[in-house]
């Protein structure tokens, strides 16, 4: 039965208690720092000059805070400002209680919260907003606390019910949490030192199949007032149409999909949302809007699957084999769920003359819901806030179903996006992502350089001017090789370890191609490795043993090496065959986060997830097409 009077009584009691804490009447303050105290961004007095050979920057653009509904309901009390502070290395209160702090700062970060319409409420309390002059606002700022609280509560009820007061129908007054998210990004942006972006996540999941995209804006000069939500539409073509509308109005933006592994074949399907086959127009639109794919994150890695790549002994890395349903449903469709197969399918589309819709570069990212991207395996603080508590990461929140506990134990620690950009500014980093000069890591700050050319020699990788030569005569990761007069292309790759993580085991080049009949093939070549191992008769490089001591969660640098470099010419190249090549760099085995936690908490190790893993990096591909 409806009992509105009881609510008002409670509200009034609450109010009277709250009033006891107030000594004088003052204008209420909005949730985010009020406009008055947000100073203009600190202008880097001496921005380091752009580096024509590009510097590497590490960051994440898929981050949620307590302002995302699902983060809040899972206990996160963080805000976008907290997220940006954390990314720069400051300690923030993890929502599970203890402080969380990154060991090394990141270069760029973006909070991509699900924006919800709550902000009219905030704006009425902001004396700078015209909304504060409305009748409703008078109730909101009344000296009588009772009146205030009843007005607030009434507005909240109405807003939740979708009712809109006629006083609030002026479009100029429609603001949202989105504008506060943008403000937080601007407040933390320091060109040359730390870059932030405005962005959001479009969380489409039809029948719990993941079609999510993170949308990133190049700058905050021209932004929409309201962002598109999946409540408006689940169809990616609708998102791209909306993005195109924004471009017409002066914004520059792109979308980054993730978690094909949770899409049950839909992420890279060769049909449109309504089931009709994709066509040239669709392919062009998709490629224009989506330059990158988030290949690794907390909800698993989706490079490939053992069933799609049976000869790839590293194909089963950090599998998270679920859809987004609440009852631990397993996907059944592998095609359309993984990046390597998508790259192949993209070339098949190209071969029919319809263009390539799946020409994705790669980044890693997290999808944390507690502000902290948490890519450091030894410092993993979980996806949801309750996972800030180490015991609950390992054993689940008491009372959770076993399937859910298993799902959470199978979460990875976050990945990172690596970007080669001329300087640490919004424009430079965005542009680098747009041209796909990026790589993904599974968390450590592994650095990767990857170039392809018909005019470089394998020994050029040893030259002190290697990078300069490579840019002059070849294309970097994300680029396209122009046809090369029948020669085979040469690839130069260099990688170096993260000092905080394990040595490097090897560098591989993953090649995918279409043969003369249009059939898809893939092959992996080991091109550089530590020690004096030899490729075996079976074509495989022997694995390195593990130096991990599970009792102490430590490892040594007895195996592996700090840097690797190689020049490699494709021995199986045929000029008439479309192909892609990307570099994959593997570390030696190191402890997985659950091993660190079990040792630190003095708890039993988990048995259903691996105890160790080989962290890795994937460069964006370089594509070759015959014409």
């Amino acid at each position: 039965m409806n009992q509105p009077r009881l609510n008002l009584r409670l509200a009034a009691s609450v109010c009277s208690v709250l009033i006891a804490g107030c000594s004088k009447k003052e204008a209420p303050v909005a949730l985010a720092p009020p406009a008055a105290t947000v100073a203009p961004t600190e202008v880097a007095a001496s921005l380091p000059p752009p580096n024509p050979e590009n510097n590497v920057y590490f960051g994440a653009v898929h981050v949620h805070t307590g302002w995302s509904f699902d983060a809040f309901t899972n206990g996160s009390k963080t805000t976008p400002s907290d997220a940006y502070a954390w990314a720069q290395g400051k300690a923030i209160t993890g929502s599970g209680g203890p402080e969380i702090q990154l060991k090394t700062p990141l270069d760029f970060y973006m909070v991509s919260d699900h924006a919800e319409f709550m902000g009219v409420f905030n704006q009425m309390a902001n004396p700078d907003s015209p909304l504060s002059k409305t009748e409703l606002a008078k109730g909101v700022t009344s000296p009588d606390a009772n009146v205030r609280i009843q007005t607030f509560a009434g507005i909240l009820r109405d807003m939740s019910a979708g009712k809109r007061d006629p006083q609030l129908t002026d479009p100029a007054l429609a603001r949202s949490v989105w504008s506060q998210i943008v403000k937080a990004a601007d407040a933390s942006y320091t060109p040359g030192k730390f870059t932030t972006f405005a962005g959001f996540e479009w969380t489409s999941n039809p029948q719990q199949r993941n079609l999510h995209r993170v949308v990133v804006f190049r700058d905050t000069a021209k932004l929409p007032d309201l962002v598109l939500s999946a409540l408006d539409s689940d169809d990616p073509e609708v998102l791209w149409k909306w993005m195109s509308d924004q471009r017409a109005k002066g914004s520059t933006l792109f979308a980054i999909p993730h978690n094909g592994n949770a899409s049950d074949g839909r992420m890279f399907e060769t049909v449109k949302f309504d089931g009709k086959p994709i066509d040239a127009a669709y392919n062009k639109t998709r490629a224009e809007n989506e330059p990158l794919y988030e290949i690794t994150q907390i909800k698993g890695t989706s490079e490939t699957h053992p069933s799609l790549s049976p000869t790839d002994e590293f194909a089963s890395f950090e599998m998270w084999d679920y859809t987004l349903s609440a009852d631990f449903q397993r996907p059944t469709h592998r095609k359309g769920s993984f990046a390597r197969k998508a790259l192949l399918d993209g070339m098949s589309q190209s071969a029919t003359g319809a263009g390539n819709p799946f020409k994705y570069g790669f980044i890693g990212d997290t999808d944390t819901h507690n502000a902290a991207a948490s890519h450091e395996e030894f410092n993993f603080t979980g996806k949801f806030a309750f996972e800030n508590n180490a015991k609950e990461r390992l054993t689940g929140v008491p009372g959770s179903p076993a399937g859910q506990i298993q799902q959470i134990q199978e979460f990875s620690s976050g990945g990172l996006a690596g970007v080669w950009a001329a300087q640490n500014t919004r424009e430079a980093i965005f542009d680098a992502m747009q041209r796909k000069e990026t790589f993904a890591t599974s968390g450590p700050m592994i650095k990767v350089r990857f170039f392809g050319s018909f005019d470089l020699a394998v020994d050029d990788v040893k030259s002190p001017d290697f990078v300069k030569l490579a840019y002059a005569k070849g294309v970097p990761m994300g680029g396209d090789l122009k046809p090369g007069a029948g020669k085979a292309p040469t690839f130069l790759v260099m990688a170096s370890k993260d000092p905080k993580s394990g040595n490097l085991d090897r560098i591989q080049i993953v090649k995918g191609w279409l043969d003369a009949a249009g059939k898809q093939h893939e092959k992996i070549y080991d091109v550089a490795w530590s020690g004096d191992r030899k490729i075996g008769a079976n074509g495989k490089l022997p694995a390195l043993g593990s130096t991990v001591d599970l009792k102490t969660a430590t490892y040594t640098d007895a195996t592996g090496t700090a840097q690797l470099a190689s020049g490699w010419t494709d021995p199986d190249f045929k000029p008439g065959e479309r192909a892609f090549y990307y570099a994959r760099v593997l570390e030696i085995p190191t402890p997985r986060w659950n091993t660190y936690d079990a040792v630190r908490q003095n708890m039993a190790p988990l048995t259903k997830v691996p105890a160790t893993l080989q962290e890795r990096a994937w460069s964006s591909p370089i594509w070759y097409s015959p014409s």
Partner: protein, 283 residues
């Protein structure tokens, strides 16, 4: 006594009067508040539809067509029906998501209610002093380096050092590496990030303006020439006012909510009728 006779004193009982009045009020309430009846009537008003159209227009830069608007209204009606059915079944009760959502709204109200001024300079100065460590900017260093892998013999490195001191181009003296050949005004934590903790610590002890080494890092060994250092410093409030104000406000907000929680709790009698040790995991 006959039953009939007992009625008269009973009719004068205040308790009975009270109960009858209560019953009357109950019935009157039911009459006067139609919403209390099982909700079969769903009314979509003009302002509601205007609101849907406004939100659509804001998102799509054009008003919805009638068909699109009809779809939005239909979606609203479906939501409303399912919601009412769910509430009638008590599905909104004891739902942790609903509870958290209500809590979120209440906390928003509480935050708005706890009227605060913007911080004064005195507030911020005091806060800055108390939390100086958090705002101290780390020292920076500028240096060049020449890389050699761990296997390179000491003699070779020493020869390179001599060459560097003579003025040879450092870029031609070492081995290929992805590490930068020089850094300019780099914060200590970024040097640690790129070169490792060991190298960054050693760096602090090196003399200025001369090539020294080998210095070990996570990658191998280096010749290093440090050209300048700046010490860690706590900037004056004027330079970092925005950042300090943000942290001050954040701490204030958290403290206010905590005070609020405490004050509210005093209004409740909390009885924990359970023994925690029996439910807790036994190790």
């Amino acid at each position: 006594m006959e039953p009939g006779l007992r009625f008269k004193p009973l009719l004068r009982e205040p308790v009975l009067h009270f109960l009858l009045i209560g019953l009357l009020l109950f019935v009157a309430y039911g009459w006067l508040t139609p919403a209390a009846r099982s909700g079969e009537r769903i009314v979509v008003t003009q302002p509601m539809v205007d609101g849907m159209a406004l939100e659509y227009r804001t998102r799509w830069s054009r008003p919805p067509s009638e068909q699109e608007l009809a779809r939005l209204v239909d979606a609203y009606v479906r939501d409303e029906i399912l919601y009412r059915e769910g509430v009638a079944l008590g599905l909104d009760r004891d739902d942790p998501v609903v509870k958290r959502r209500v809590r979120q709204k209440l906390e928003v109200i509480a935050e708005e209610q706890l009227a605060r001024e913007a911080p004064t300079d005195a507030d911020l100065a005091a806060y800055l002093q108390k939390n100086a460590k958090r705002f101290t900017q780390p020292g920076t260093v500028s240096f060049e380096q020449i890389f050699f892998d761990a296997a390179t013999p000491a003699a070779q490195i020493e020869a390179a050092r001599a060459a560097a001191l003579r003025g040879s181009d450092p870029a031609r003296l070492g081995q290929p590496t992805m590490l930068p050949p020089g850094v300019s005004n780099a914060r200590g934590d970024l040097v640690t990030r790129d070169f490792g903790l060991e190298f960054a610590a050693e760096l602090e002890k090196l003399p200025l303006d001369t090539w020294v080494g080998p210095v070990a890092s996570a990658f191998g060994q280096h010749l290093v020439r440090v050209s300048s250092r700046t010490a860690a410093l706590l900037p004056p409030l004027a330079d970092i006012r925005a950042a300090v104000a943000r942290e001050w406000e954040s701490e204030r907000r958290t403290a206010s909510l905590a005070e609020n929680d405490k004050a509210l709790r005093q209004r409740y009698e909390v009885v924990i009728d359970a023994k925690l040790s029996t439910s807790a995991a036994v190790r």
